[in-house]
């Protein structure tokens, strides 16, 4: 009897518990940061650029993407970014997964209404159903034919492809530039030092607090025998939150003391000297040509 109930319990505990899932997720965040750091250290094309040029080029490309209206050109633009990722030695599968499985999902949800005729009237592609007469709701009129329109689908595809380009370029920038270098470069191109210092410290201490959270959850797991109720789990989460808040307060005081001890007096200074090489200027020139090429392609397809 006793053995039976033990077997049952062991079988049941094979399903990952809330604690295990949280520990895994937290570990994944730390692992991803580690992988990103490794990619940024590789000798790929974008890694060899001055971070300032990398930021300016990314901004130019994002602005260009927002001027393009033709889905085919946008699609080609996306393929070009994949080539850029490839020559920068970024693992393509995980890169595409991060861009196309998670982020545009939210965009797709947002743009779905625009494909239907009540929201964006146009040439019907597929008629869904017909009403006997139009319905008026305040200032909004629902037409009698509810359909998926050509204009709506085009607008949705263009928006999703543009978001894809913007997310891919931003991800590529952060993957191929070390976080510390990226922030220094942002500082050099005019972002205030105070803002940069806050970002640097936030990035630094998020990982410390993540590690603390992982340790807390592992400690809890090691002392947990059998099943815990939802109420107990909620209690543990709220306790962990209050402990973390207390720890954050302690750390912030101590960090401020440590900064003061080494001469911080309200003015944060950074030391970053980047040197532009011929390759950086050539790359910037190439990016301008690429931007003109895509805008030209869009002109040929749409504007003519």
């Amino acid at each position: 009897m006793c053995q039976k109930s033990l077997k049952f319990k062991l079988k049941k505990s094979k399903k990952p518990t809330f604690l295990e899932k949280t520990i895994n997720e937290l570990n994944n965040v730390i692992k991803e940061e580690f992988i990103a750091g490794k990619i940024a250290s590789r000798h790929g094309l974008l890694q060899n650029l001055d971070p300032r040029i990398n930021i300016i080029a990314t901004l130019l490309l994002i602005i260009t993407a927002n001027f393009i209206h033709q889905p085919l050109v946008l699609l080609f633009f996306n393929f070009w970014i994949i080539w850029l990722a490839k020559v920068s030695l970024v693992p393509i599968r995980s890169f595409l997964k991060r861009v196309w499985l998670i982020v545009p999902l939210f965009t797709v949800v947002m743009v779905i209404p625009t494909i239907f005729s009540p929201f964006l009237p146009g040439e019907p592609l597929l008629i869904l159903f017909q009403l006997s007469h139009p319905i008026q709701i305040l200032f909004w009129q629902i037409p009698p034919i509810i359909s998926i329109t050509k204009q709506g689908v085009m607008a949705a595809v263009v928006l999703v492809l543009r978001v894809g380009i913007c997310v891919s370029l931003s991800l590529l920038l952060t993957l191929t530039t070390k976080w510390s270098q990226l922030l220094k470069a942002l500082n050099k191109i005019g972002i205030p030092t105070v803002f940069i210092t806050i970002l640097e410290m936030a990035h630094r201490y998020i990982y410390l607090l993540l590690q603390t959270t992982v340790d807390m959850f592992i400690a809890k797991k090691s002392r947990t025998v059998g099943q815990t109720t939802t109420g107990e789990q909620r209690q543990f989460i709220s306790n962990s939150m209050s402990i973390l808040l207390g720890k954050t307060y302690f750390i912030s005081n101590e960090v401020y003391s440590a900064m003061t001890s080494r001469g911080y007096n309200g003015k944060a200074l950074t030391l970053a000297e980047f040197k532009l090489k011929l390759f950086d200027w050539l790359w910037l020139g190439f990016i301008i040509i690429v931007c003109l090429f895509f805008i030209g392609g869009d002109y040929l397809f749409v504007w003519k």
Binding site: Y205, V255, A258, S261, R262, G263, N265, L271
Partner: protein
């Protein structure tokens, strides 16, 4: 009032935290230039608080604290010139390395002090390179702190202070949580620093550290007072005193190993 070589002087200093919890009670001490002093006491007796007062990070509510012959108050530190000269002369190693390592990479961390204290960029670079070379840390210079081991983080924290080239080093529980090899490396570093006629104040409950390093030992009682002061031999031989301040139990004894090395521990 001061001898020429007095670095720190405390007169009847008391300190309470905002929660009204007492941390220090009527502390009197005088630390001379080139001296290696150890603040010895059990956990929670006020050693770390005293080090923070010595680094002018907190200020006593009662009594007077003098550093380099000047009364240290919040107003005195508000003077920018004095603030920078004080910070250039005193370096503080925090007990938890993580709070001291707030920069994105080892290189930035070591450069932070010299940069804040007004050195030009070429001098900062030179100091950072030299410090990293001396501590054999050049290979770690681009690493963020969360990718370093505990020992490496402690070394980084020390490098971040040594790059300032201070006259006084305040070390809060420097050997805590370090493996024996890193502890040995750290002890050698402290010895090297002290050999340059620089002043060192260490807070610890590690008796091996007292034996090996201390010129002078201040013993804290659990009611936050200094109840004894003497050389390391005088203090370590006074078993009754060490039991009284809850540092050891009655089974405590010392071993003498070959080469005159002593170590202290306790077992039945």
């Amino acid at each position: 009032m001061f001898g020429n070589n007095v670095v720190f002087k405390l007169k009847d200093v008391s300190f309470r935290y905002p929660s009204n919890e007492e941390a220090l009670s009527k502390i009197n001490l005088e630390i001379k230039k080139g001296e290696l002093s150890v603040l010895l006491g059990a956990n929670g007796c006020g050693k770390s608080t005293l080090l923070k007062i010595l680094d002018a990070l907190i200020f006593p509510q009662e009594g007077e604290f003098y550093a380099f012959e000047k009364l240290i108050t919040e107003e005195a530190l508000a003077d920018e010139e004095f603030f920078y000269s004080f910070r250039r002369r005193v370096g503080f190693l925090f007990q938890e390395s993580d709070v001291q390592l707030f920069n994105p990479t080892v290189w930035d961390e070591v450069a932070y002090g010299p940069l804040q204290l007004g050195l030009n960029s070429s001098s900062v670079r030179e100091r950072v390179e030299r410090t990293l070379e001396n501590l054999n840390m050049k290979h770690l210079k681009d690493r963020p702190p969360f990718r370093l081991s505990g020992g490496e983080r402690k070394k980084e924290a020390i490098a971040s202070i040594l790059s300032i080239d201070p006259e006084v080093l305040l070390l809060d529980e420097p050997t805590n949580g370090l493996d024996p090899r890193t502890q040995r490396h750290l002890i050698n570093l402290i010895k090297d620093f002290h050999k340059q006629n620089k002043t060192v104040v260490i807070s610890t409950h590690n008796l091996d550290l007292v034996y090996e390093l201390a010129d002078k030992v201040y013993v804290f009682s659990e009611d936050h007072k200094i109840i004894a002061c003497g050389t390391s031999e005088e203090i370590l031989d006074n078993k009754e005193l060490l039991i009284k301040v809850n540092l050891i139990d009655e089974h405590f004894h010392k071993h003498v190993h070959t080469g005159d090395h002593l170590h202290f521990h306790s077992h039945e």
